[in-house]
């Protein structure tokens, strides 16, 4: 099939950008969306032009590297899937597709469709862990975790840190991402000791990085490729109340 792509091109951080139009032909329905971009890039390189930059790595929906907003939707039209899991059979001949980078103050554009998500790392560094030095762990089965708690923790832990929640949130809030980590560790016995410190520390960094606040718009959970849901945000809100009432 033949398609028209409108892709955001931006030379570098802080520089002006624009949507540029590219026709692509001979797209097979079995291609993934990123493979379709590969094909386009190959043709650009052949013409001696600078290829379109976009982040990707695993191409199977687990690394969280791919990050496109396709026709206004983070990770494209399929729910519960990343950009790299989107296949061209979703589209039909003659379609026009607009591709933009994730946009948020805390995710500055690096180039074209590539953004800098290191703000996520800094949030994790502010408390998204259990402080246990290598070697200091006790025998694994001396920590019992009720299965339902383990399952719910795993649901939250499935977050791949892609940032689509931020991209989709009208407020560019990272609450879904944040709450996934806070929830995982709040649900497990291992996370209890640092419970309060964690939510306060991570939230402080969240705000400093320039993410917005959550106003419960629920766009984030609708686009989240791992279907992290907003009861996690509610849990984090509880954790926050608990933390400040004990501080």
């Amino acid at each position: 099939m033949n398609l028209t792509l409108k892709i955001w091109r931006q030379k570098g951080p802080g520089q002006p950008g624009e949507l540029k139009e590219y026709p692509v032909s001979g797209v097979s329905p079995d291609m993934s969306f990123l493979e379709m971009l590969d094909v386009l890039n190959e043709s650009l390189i052949k013409k001696g032009e600078d290829a379109i930059s976009f982040d990707h790595d695993c191409r199977e929906g687990i690394c969280g590297m791919c990050s496109l907003v396709i026709d206004g939707r983070a990770h494209g039209p399929d729910s519960g899937a990343t950009t790299c899991q989107l296949h061209m059979r979703r589209y039909k001949d003659g379609d026009t597709i607009v591709v933009e980078p994730f946009r948020a103050r805390a995710f500055p554009v690096v180039k074209d469709l590539v953004v800098d998500r290191s703000s996520f790392d800094r949030m994790i560094a502010a408390g998204g862990f259990v402080s246990v030095n290598t070697g200091a762990a006790c025998e694994a089965n001396s920590i019992l975790v009720p299965r339902p708690a383990a399952e719910t923790a795993m649901d939250a832990a499935a977050c791949i840190g892609c940032g689509a929640c931020v991209a989709a949130c009208p407020n560019a809030s990272a609450m879904l991402f944040l709450s996934a980590k806070v929830s995982q560790l709040a649900l497990l016995p291992q996370g209890q000791v640092e419970r309060g410190k964690r939510v306060l520390g991570m939230l402080k960094t969240h705000d400093q990085e320039g993410f917005g606040a959550c106003t419960n718009e629920r766009e984030c959970e609708a686009v989240c490729p791992k279907e992290i849901s907003i009861p996690n945000i509610a849990r984090m809100n509880r954790e926050y109340v608990r933390a400040i009432s004990r501080a």
């Binding site: 032009e49 600078d50 290829a51 695993c58 687990i62 690394c63 006790c138 795993m154």
Partner: protein, 637 residues
């Protein structure tokens, strides 16, 4: 050169304890005076960086991705082994050791493997303490499953995302140290050269992938944790950024490359669908617990699978291996699939696929149960192929998955360049000629959490290391060289894209150095690769510029290294005139088509030494000694 593996003396059970006792210690107050450069943030790199920073070393970490959490380890699905014996089914450190040596087809070092089995239990303790959400029983204890044909249930798992959860645990530990200011984290950096001063590794030169600047980092020791080279085949289950660049460039600086021909092909991957294909997706091995593998008995049978009656199907694994059936090890299952397709019985549009059929499992267990066990895998398959595996059998084909070969390291994980260490999939150490399922994660974490913290101290405490700065001449020289290489690539302005070269190279090595290898084919590849290398230098087309984010340029550098490396891989395959594990030489097989080892002549590690540009590499050997596990013919009949 004589290779000294520095294996401690004494009974295998005591070697590690004894060694740790004998290693010199760095005074706690002095640790902060040592700079350690860790390259890579997969399981090996993250765990090493975190553990070393906890000890007090000054750590700098580089990785290609925008965040350490995205390293390729994230993709591992199945699980991680440990000898906890929680199910009480007869497992022990000894059995894990034994299985790993045997599974590696007697081509690994006993001492390393024993240590790996020994620390496996500490890994699980550590990960659980970090909050890794492993699967649990109703009583709250950890749950285990049997994996990859093991006779005991020793695999710990977190849904289909074990690698991700383990990496997030290690990444959390790493980020904790970043937050505490003990680790300097430098993402989006690609190592392009290792800097050796006075014969010792003292730092690295890398390209800042955002600004394009070439940067130098000096250190007292360098740890390469840069993963495997499976992408030399172009199509593999590896992530796009996986590369051989780091280890290859270290190799050119004097680190020996061991057993490059040991590559693992995973039997259950989604088959190639067209030329546009950029990667192959693994379907977890656990599917073989309930799925049955078959092809039509008649070649070229064009009927849809449900039209083919049972007596016209060849359940070839069950037929050839009655006792292991569909659960034979990876290399065996992969070769059997290839054999079926070579006979013209392959299915699907490409005829390069076999069926993995759940019809009987659905009949026996009910669709609901099958959905509970494999739902997410089925969905993934459905997503990619647009076929519903509850209704039609899956089509699968083997794909390159893991590389057992890597930089040669001694018992301390140090390469032949003093001060240059290599951890995880990037080294060659523990899996011999074939890796067992769920053992790579174990090895990466063993290296990072438990081995390197001890052995690096031993090195730093016993060497006299002068002051070295990133402003020194050695670094400036390396920077200039790297810069020139980058500029040279951009200046070619040829006709073919780096991807086109990569694809051609991949197909070449897949055909001649893939699942089955023979002398004629390997020689053909050896003739073609140098031509390709020369053509690459003259005809590659790299667009964009150097002082900027430029993925075309990144790829170009990696492809160039793959072409050079491929030659060594093929040569290694040619010289190893036996079949073992993942290395199957068609000339060396038993009458019923199984791998035939030659212990008399090849019970050794082949460690290749770089001899300079254009000169043939030198093959050194490290003999393997088996005191505790006696080599026998692997049999899964």
């Amino acid at each position: 050169m004589k290779l000294d593996a520095k294996i401690p003396s004494g009974p295998v059970q005591q070697k590690w304890d004894k060694h740790r006792f004998e290693l010199k210690l760095v005074n706690p107050a002095n640790k902060r005076k040592f700079d350690v450069l860790v390259v890579g943030t997969g399981l090996a790199g993250s765990s090493a960086a975190a553990s070393l920073a906890e000890l007090g070393y000054n750590v700098t970490v580089l990785c290609i991705q925008d965040s350490p959490r995205r390293a390729h380890s994230i993709a591992a699905q199945g699980g991680i082994n440990a000898a906890k014996n929680y199910p009480n089914d007869g497992d022990s450190v000894w059995r894990l050791f034994y299985d790993t040596v045997k599974g590696g087809d007697y081509r690994s070092r006993e001492a390393n493997v024993y240590r790996l089995a020994q620390v496996s239990n500490n890994i699980i303790d550590q990960c659980v303490a970090q909050g890794v959400p492993f699967a649990r029983e109703y009583g709250g204890q950890l749950s285990n499953r049997s994996f990859g044909g093991a006779q005991v249930s020793r695999t710990f798992y977190a849904r289909g995302q074990t690698g991700q959860q383990l990496l997030l645990g290690a990444y959390g530990a790493l980020m904790r140290q970043v937050g505490a200011g003990k680790v300097r984290l430098l993402p989006r950096r690609e190592l392009l050269d290792v800097v050796v001063v006075d014969g010792k590794a003292r730092g690295a030169v890398c390209r800042n992938l955002v600004t394009g600047k070439v940067e130098s980092y000096a250190a007292h020791a360098v740890l390469l944790c840069t993963g495997g080279y499976g992408n030399v085949f172009y199509l593999s289950t590896n992530a796009a950024n996986s590369n051989v660049t780091a280890t290859w460039r270290a190799h050119k600086k004097g680190a020996f490359f061991a057993n490059p021909c040991y590559t693992q092909i995973h039997p259950t991957c989604i088959p190639v669908s067209g030329d546009h294909q950029s990667k192959l997706t693994l379907m977890s091995e656990s599917l073989r617990n309930d799925g049955r593998v078959w092809v039509p008995k008649k070649g070229g049978d064009a009927r849809s699978p449900d039209q083919i009656p049972d007596d016209e199907r060849d359940y070839y694994l069950e037929r050839r291996y009655p006792s292991f059936g569909n659960l034979v090890p990876r290399d065996v299952a992969s070769r059997a699939a290839k054999a079926a397709c070579d006979e013209g019985k392959g299915v699907g549009p490409s005829k390069l696929a076999v069926y993995l059929d759940f019809r009987d499992a659905i009949k026996r267990l009910g669709e609901q149960n099958v959905r509970e066990k494999y739902g997410n895998l089925f969905d993934m398959y459905h997503h990619i192929t647009d076929e519903n595996p509850y209704k039609v059998p899956m089509r699968i084909y083997p794909a390159v998955h893991y590389t057992m070969g890597g930089l040669w390291v001694d018992y301390n994980l140090m390469t032949t360049v003093p001060g240059l260490f290599c951890l995880g999939e990037a080294n060659f150490s523990d899996h011999g000629a074939n890796r067992l399922g769920a053992s790579a994660l174990m090895q990466g974490l063993a290296d990072g959490y438990f081995v390197i913290p001890a052995t690096l101290g031993g090195y730093l405490a016993s060497e006299k290391l002068g002051a070295v700065k990133a402003e020194d001449a050695a670094f400036k020289e390396a920077e200039a060289r790297v810069d020139a290489e980058v500029k040279a690539l951009l200046a070619v302005k040829g006709k073919r894209t780096p991807t086109e070269f990569h694809r051609e190279l991949g197909l070449l090595v897949w055909n001649y150095c893939g699942m089955g290898r023979n002398e004629a084919g390997l020689k053909k590849a050896l003739a073609r690769i140098p031509e390709l290398r020369e053509e690459y230098k003259k005809n590659v087309n790299v667009t964009g510029d150097a002082g900027n984010f430029n993925q075309c340029l990144e790829r170009a550098g990696r492809v160039g290294d793959y072409i050079e490396f491929a030659e060594l891989m093929v040569r290694d395959a040619l010289e190893r005139k036996e079949s073992c594990g993942g290395h199957f030489r068609e000339e060396y097989q038993t009458p019923d088509g199984e791998a035939q080892r030659d212990d008399a002549n090849f019970s050794h590690v082949a460690a290749w030494e770089y001899a300079g540009p254009g000169k043939p590499e030198v093959r050194n050997t490290e003999p393997l000694v088996f005191d505790d596990v006696h080599p026998s013919q692997r049999s899964y009949k």
